[in-house]
C-alpha cells in the first residue's frame, strides 16, 4: 500500500496530470478576472486549496477543481518524491537538479512572500513630511495623548483585538476601554433607515447615527470599514460610551485626569525611525499628448539617529530601497500636487533573482548536454 502511494507520488504521470490541471486553473482563473475582478479571482483560484462553484441562484458551493495551493503542494511533493526515487549516486544530472531546485526556491519564495510581506502606502502632498506609512485595508483604534507639547504618546488597539471584545487596559491609559459592539465591516447613516439601528452613544459626541453590520468585502477596490461602540471607564466610574468608525475621520478630543487625548479609528500606521519629506512630485507628459512620460517624486530622507539627510528621486522602475523596505512610485493625486508611494517589506524579494539564474543555468546545462550527445551521434553517422 505504502509502496503504491510512493509510486503514485513519484510518478511522472502525476507531474503531467498536475501540470495539465495547473494550465486549466491558470486559464480559467485568468478568464474569470473579467467578471470577478483580479482580487477575487486570485483568492478563489490561486490562493485557495479548492475551487468552488455554485449556481447563481443558490448559495450552494460545490468543490469542482483543485485550487492553486493544492496543485502547488502536490507538485512539490511529487518533485521531491521523484528526485528521491530516481536519484542514483554518481549520475550526472546537475542540470535537472539545478532546474528543480530553482523552481522550488521560486515557489517557496512566493509562499514566504505571501506569508511575511507587508504592503502599506505613504501619501504625501508637496511639502508634507511623515515618519509612518499606512495600511490600505486595516484599521486601528488610536488613543493619542497630546498633553506634551513636543511629542505624542500613542496607544493603538488593533481591529483584531477589538473583535474579541471585553475590557482592554494599558499602563499608559488612565481608563479601561470596554468594547460593547464591534462590526468588522459596517455602514453608517444619518437618518433612520430600514435595517439600521440607532447607535446608543451616551455622550453628545456623534449622536443621531444609525448603523448596520456588513459582510466581509472581497472586491479589489473596496475595503472593510469597521465601527465600534466603546465605553471608557475609570476608577471614578464611566466616562461615556462613544462611537468610533473608519467613516469618522475627525478625532474625538477629550480631557481626562488632567491630560488631553484624541481618539480615532484610522488606517494602521507603520512608524519608521526616519522621516520622508516630499520635495516635489512631477507628472510629465509627452509634448502635445496626454501620454504620461514619467511620474517621479523627489523626497528628502532624514534620519535623526544616524544624522542621515539626503534627497532621493523615486520614479517608475526606480524605487528606493531603504531599511529593509522598498518605496515605489504607485499613484498620485488628481491635481498632480501629491504622491502615493507603495511601501513593501518583503524579506524574500531576492528569491526570484536566484531562482531565475538557477533554472536558466540548469536548462542550459541540460540542453547543452543533449545537444552535445546529439552532435556526437550525428558525427558518428
Amino acid at each position: 500500500m505504502l509502496d503504491r502511494l510512493y509510486d503514485f507520488f513519484s510518478s511522472l504521470k502525476l507531474t503531467v496530470a498536475l501540470l495539465a490541471l495547473g494550465l486549466v486553473l491558470v486559464f480559467v482563473g485568468t478568464v474569470a478576472q473579467v467578471n470577478l475582478g483580479l482580487y477575487k479571482a486570485q483568492n478563489d483560484f490561486f490562493r485557495s486549496f479548492i475551487v468552488y462553484w455554485g449556481p447563481a441562484w443558490s448559495s450552494l458551493r460545490i468543490p469542482v477543481f483543485p485550487g492553486g495551493y493544492t496543485i502547488g503542494w502536490l507538485l512539490l511533493m511529487n518533485l521531491f518524491a521523484a528526485h528521491f526515487r530516481h536519484y542514483r549516486p554518481g549520475q550526472k544530472k546537475y542540470g535537472i537538479i539545478l532546474i528543480h531546485f530553482g523552481v522550488v526556491l521560486l515557489l517557496v519564495g512566493q509562499l514566504l512572500t505571501d506569508m511575511f510581506s507587508t504592503e502599506s502606502l505613504l501619501h504625501l502632498r508637496n511639502g508634507d513630511t511623515k515618519n509612518y506609512s499606512e495600511a490600505s485595508r486595516e484599521f486601528e483604534l488610536a488613543i493619542v495623548d497630546t498633553t506634551a507639547a513636543d511629542s505624542n504618546q500613542v496607544v493603538v488597539i488593533s481591529t483584531h483585538r477589538l473583535r474579541k471584545g471585553g475590557d482592554i487596559q494599558h499602563p499608559a491609559l488612565p481608563f479601561t476601554v470596554r468594547v460593547k459592539t464591534f462590526f468588522a465591516n459596517s455602514s453608517l447613516v444619518q437618518t433612520a433607515t430600514p435595517g439600521y439601528q440607532a447607535v446608543p452613544t451616551t455622550t453628545a459626541f456623534r449622536t443621531g447615527l444609525w448603523w448596520r453590520e456588513l459582510p466581509h468585502e472581497t472586491e479589489m477596490e473596496k475595503r472593510d470599514m469597521p465601527s465600534a461602540l466603546v465605553e471608557l471607564h475609570s476608577a471614578q466610574g464611566t466616562v461615556g460610551t462613544f462611537l468610533f468608525s473608519a467613516f469618522l475621520t475627525k478625532p474625538h478630543a477629550m480631557t481626562h485626569a488632567g491630560r488631553t487625548y484624541q481618539l480615532v479609528v484610522r488606517q494602521v500606521r507603520f512608524y519608521k525611525p526616519f522621516s520622508i519629506h516630499l520635495v516635489e512630485f512631477r507628472h510629465d507628459r509627452y509634448p502635445g499628448t496626454e501620454i504620461p512620460k514619467n511620474f517621479s517624486s523627489r523626497v528628502r530622507l532624514q534620519r535623526p539617529d544616524t544624522g542621515e539627510d539626503r534627497e532621493v528621486l523615486i520614479f517608475m522602475n526606480n524605487p528606493l530601497r531603504y531599511d529593509g523596505e522598498t518605496y515605489y512610485q504607485a499613484s498620485f493625486d488628481t491635481d498632480d500636487q501629491g504622491t502615493v508611494l507603495q511601501v513593501v517589506r518583503n524579506p524574500s524579494w531576492l528569491t526570484p533573482y536566484f531562482s531565475c539564474v538557477l533554472v536558466g543555468l540548469g536548462l542550459i546545462v541540460q540542453f547543452t548536454s543533449h545537444l552535445v550527445g546529439f552532435a556526437r551521434k550525428r558525427s558518428k553517422v
Partner: protein, 643 residues
C-alpha cells in the same frame, strides 16, 4: 537540366535581390518636390516624425491603405499597378487643394447596415467588397454620423455593438480628415501668405483698440473688426490643426513645437510671427496655385533655415521617410511566402526527382537567407528610429516573432537540410508580418511608451526573451503541423534522411525547439516578474499577460515531462506541440482581448474572430494527428507490425 537545377536557386535569389535594390534606389523627383515636403519634420504623438508619417498613418486610419489609388483595378489583376496618390501627395492635396481632396474616395465604410442607414448604397467606389466614399458624398450625413458617434463613444467599450464601432470609426475618420484640412491654413484659403500679412498688419491697431476698451474707453471699432476677422480664421487652425509643424522659437526648448494657428496667434503676446510660418505659407500658396518652382523653392529655403538648429530633427524626418517609402516588411513578406512555397514544393517532390527537390530546397534556403537580411534591416532601422529595443508594442512583437522564427528556421535548415526549416520560417514569417500589417492599421506604430514601460533595460531583456520564447513555441508548433499534414496526406515522413527517416528527424527538431522554448519562456517570465517587482513591488500579480506567459511555461514543461515519462511518442509529442500554438496565441493575443490588467492594449474583436478560427484549425489538425496509424499515408506500411 542538371545545370539548370544548379543555377535555379541563384537565379531566384538574384531576382528578389534585384527587386530590393531597385526599391532602395532613390526615386526621381517630379515637378513638385513632394518627397522633400514629406521629409520635413513635425511633432505628433509626442515624437518627431516626417509629414509623410502623419499622412500615411492618417490614411491607414481613414482608408486602411497607405496610398490612394486613382482608379480601381480588380484584385485578381495583381500585375496591374494603377496610378496612385502617394501618402504625402494626398496630404498636400488635403491641406492646400481641399476641393480636389474632397472628391477622392478615401472613407472606408463596410458595414452594410451603416451604409443603408446613411443612404449611401448608390454611391462610393467598390473594390473587393469594400466601399470607399468621398468627403463630398459624406458631407450631407456628417451631422448624423457625428451624433451617432457621440452616443457610441459614451457607451462602455465592452458593450459597443459592431455597428456602433463602425460609426465611431467613421466619425473619427471624418474628424481626422477635417483636422488635417486645417492643419496649416484655414480651409478655403487661397493665399495664406496674404492672410498672415493681414494678421501682422492689423495686429498693432487691433491690440490698441482692445487695450483702449479694457481701459474703459472706446477703441477703433473698424481696426478691431478687421483684426478679429483674421484672428478668428487663424483660431480655427489653432484649435483643429493635427500635427505641430512650427519648431520651437527657442531651440533649447526641444518640446515646445506649436501648430501654425497657435504659432501665428502667439504674436499677440510676443509681437512677432515665428519665421517658420512664412515658409509654410509660401509652400501652401504655391501648391494651391500650382506653382511648382515657388513650392520647391519654399521647401528648399525652409530646409536651409532648419539646418541652423534643427539638424537632428531634419535627419529624423529623412530617415523615417526612407523607412516609410521602402516598405521593407512588405518585401520581406513576399520573400517569405515565395520561400515557403518553394520549400513545400521541395518536400513534395522528394520522391519525384531528387535533384529538382534539392534545387527547390536550396532556392527556399537562399530566399530565407535574403528575407533574414531584409527583415533584420527593417528591424534594426526601426530600432534606430525609435531609439528602443526591438519590442515596444504588439505590432513590433509580431515583427520580432517573425524575425526570431526566421533565425531558428535558418539554423534548423543549416543543420538538417531537408527544407523544413525554410518552410517553417517562410510560413511563420509570412503570417506574423501579415498580422503586423493589420495591427499597423490602428495608426502610428512608433507611439511613445507610457511611463512604466519607459525602460530600455527591461524592454531589452524581459520583452525580447519572452518574445523569443513565443517564437520558439510557434516554430515547434509549425514543425508539428508539418509532421501531421505530411504524415497523413503524403508518404514523405517514411523517406530516409541520413540514417533515419524524415519523421524521426522532425521529432528531433520539435524536441530541440521545445527545450529552447522552455528556456526562453521560463527566463522571460521570471524576468517579467522581476521587472514587476522593480516597478510595483510585487513579483507576481496573476495579471492576464503574466498568466499567459506562465501557461506557455507550464505547457512546455508538460510536453518535456510527458516525453520523458514515455507518456507520449512521436505523434503524441506532435499533437502536444500543436496545442502549444493555441496556448501561445492565447498568451500573445487572447490576454489582450480580455481588456483587463496592466498589459491590455485594447480590445480587438476582429482579431478575436481570427484567433478562434486559428484555434479551431489547430484543434482540427490535432484531431488529424490522433488518427490511427493506418490512416497515415507515411506510416501505412508500418501499421501492421503494430508500431
Amino acid at each position: 537540366m542538371k545545370q539548370f537545377y544548379r543555377v535555379l536557386p541563384w537565379l531566384l535569389l538574384a531576382l528578389f535581390a534585384v527587386e530590393i535594390i531597385v526599391v532602395l534606389l532613390p526615386r526621381k523627383a517630379g515637378e513638385f518636390h513632394t518627397a522633400e515636403f514629406g521629409r520635413l519634420p513635425v511633432l505628433l504623438n509626442g515624437r518627431i516624425q516626417p509629414f509623410d508619417s502623419v499622412a500615411r498613418n492618417s490614411l491607414l486610419q481613414i482608408r486602411s491603405t497607405g496610398d490612394v489609388p486613382l482608379e480601381e483595378v480588380p484584385g485578381w489583376k495583381f500585375w496591374k499597378h494603377p496610378p496612385k496618390l502617394r501618402s504625402t501627395e494626398w496630404l498636400l492635396e488635403v491641406m492646400f487643394r481641399p476641393a480636389v481632396a474632397d472628391t477622392r474616395p478615401i472613407f472606408l465604410v463596410h458595414h452594410p447596415e451603416l451604409i443603408s442607414e446613411l443612404r449611401l448604397t448608390e454611391m462610393g467606389v467598390e473594390k473587393s467588397g469594400l466601399r470607399y466614399y468621398t468627403f463630398t458624398e459624406l458631407r450631407p450625413v456628417m451631422a448624423e454620423v457625428a451624433a451617432q458617434g457621440r452616443t457610441a463613444r459614451a457607451a462602455p467599450d465592452a458593450t459597443r455593438t459592431t455597428y456602433q464601432k463602425q460609426v465611431l470609426k467613421l466619425a473619427n475618420a471624418l474628424m481626422l480628415y477635417q483636422r488635417l484640412k486645417n492643419s496649416i491654413q484655414p480651409e478655403g484659403t487661397t493665399d495664406f501668405s496674404a492672410l498672415v500679412k493681414e494678421f501682422s498688419d492689423s495686429l498693432p491697431a487691433g491690440l490698441a483698440a482692445i487695450r483702449a476698451r479694457r481701459a474703459g474707453g472706446t477703441g477703433d471699432e473698424a481696426a478691431l473688426d478687421r483684426f478679429n476677422a483674421v484672428a478668428e480664421r487663424l483660431d480655427l487652425v489653432a484649435t483643429y490643426a493635427y500635427p505641430l509643424v512650427i519648431p520651437p522659437v527657442d531651440p533649447t526648448q526641444k518640446d515646445a513645437w506649436q501648430n501654425v494657428g497657435a504659432s501665428v496667434l502667439s504674436a499677440i503676446r510676443d509681437g512677432d510671427v515665428p519665421p517658420a510660418v512664412a515658409y509654410f505659407a509660401r509652400m501652401g500658396t504655391a501648391y494651391g496655385a500650382g506653382h511648382a518652382a515657388g513650392f520647391n523653392q519654399a521647401i528648399a529655403d525652409y530646409q536651409q533655415w532648419l539646418k541652423s538648429s534643427f539638424t537632428s530633427e531634419l535627419a529624423k524626418g529623412r530617415a523615417e521617410y526612407f523607412y516609410n517609402r521602402i516598405k521593407v516588411f512588405l518585401h520581406a513578406t513576399i520573400i517569405y511566402i515565395a520561400a515557403f512555397l518553394l520549400a513545400g514544393a521541395a518536400l513534395l517532390t522528394i520522391g519525384l526527382s531528387a535533384p529538382l527537390s534539392e534545387s527547390l530546397r536550396r532556392s527556399a534556403y537562399y530566399l530565407i537567407g535574403l528575407a533574414f537580411v531584409v527583415h533584420t534591416f527593417g528591424l534594426v532601422f526601426r530600432m534606430m528610429l525609435e531609439g528602443r529595443p526591438p519590442v515596444t508594442n504588439l505590432y513590433s512583437s509580431a515583427i520580432f516573432i517573425g524575425w526570431g522564427t526566421c533565425v531558428l528556421g535558418l539554423i534548423l535548415e543549416r543543420i538538417y537540410r531537408i527544407g523544413l526549416g525554410s518552410a517553417v520560417a517562410g510560413l511563420v514569417g509570412f503570417v506574423t508580418l501579415l498580422i503586423a500589417h493589420n495591427l499597423a492599421l490602428g495608426g502610428d506604430t512608433m507611439e511613445m511608451l507610457r511611463a512604466v514601460l519607459d525602460t530600455n533595460f527591461w524592454l531589452a531583456t524581459h520583452v525580447v526573451v519572452i518574445t523569443l520564447g513565443y517564437a520558439a513555441t510557434f516554430v515547434a508548433g509549425a514543425l508539428a503541423l508539418a509532421y501531421v499534414t505530411l504524415g497523413v496526406f503524403t508518404p514523405v515522413l517514411a523517406r530516409p534522411a541520413g540514417q533515419t527517416t524524415l519523421g524521426r528527424v522532425l521529432a528531433q527538431m520539435v524536441y530541440a525547439i521545445i527545450c529552447f522554448a522552455m528556456l526562453f519562456s521560463f527566463v522571460g517570465t521570471v524576468l517579467g516578474g522581476i521587472w514587476a517587482d522593480q516597478s510595483w513591488g510585487r513579483f507576481w500579480g496573476w495579471d492576464p499577460k503574466e498568466n499567459g506567459a506562465l501557461m506557455i511555461v507550464i505547457w512546455n514543461a508538460l510536453i518535456l515531462h510527458a516525453r520523458l515519462g514515455g507518456l507520449v511518442r512521436e505523434r503524441g509529442l506532435m499533437n502536444l506541440a500543436i496545442f502549444g500554438n493555441v496556448v501561445t496565441a492565447f498568451s500573445w493575443f487572447g490576454t489582450n482581448m480580455l481588456g483587463i490588467g496592466l498589459h491590455s492594449y485594447g480590445f480587438m474583436d476582429a482579431a478575436f474572430r481570427w484567433l478562434m478560427l486559428f484555434n479551431a484549425s489547430q484543434i482540427f489538425i490535432i484531431a488529424l494527428g490522433s488518427l490511427p496509424l493506418p490512416a497515415w499515408r507515411s506510416f501505412r506500411a508500418l501499421a501492421p507490425t503494430g508500431r
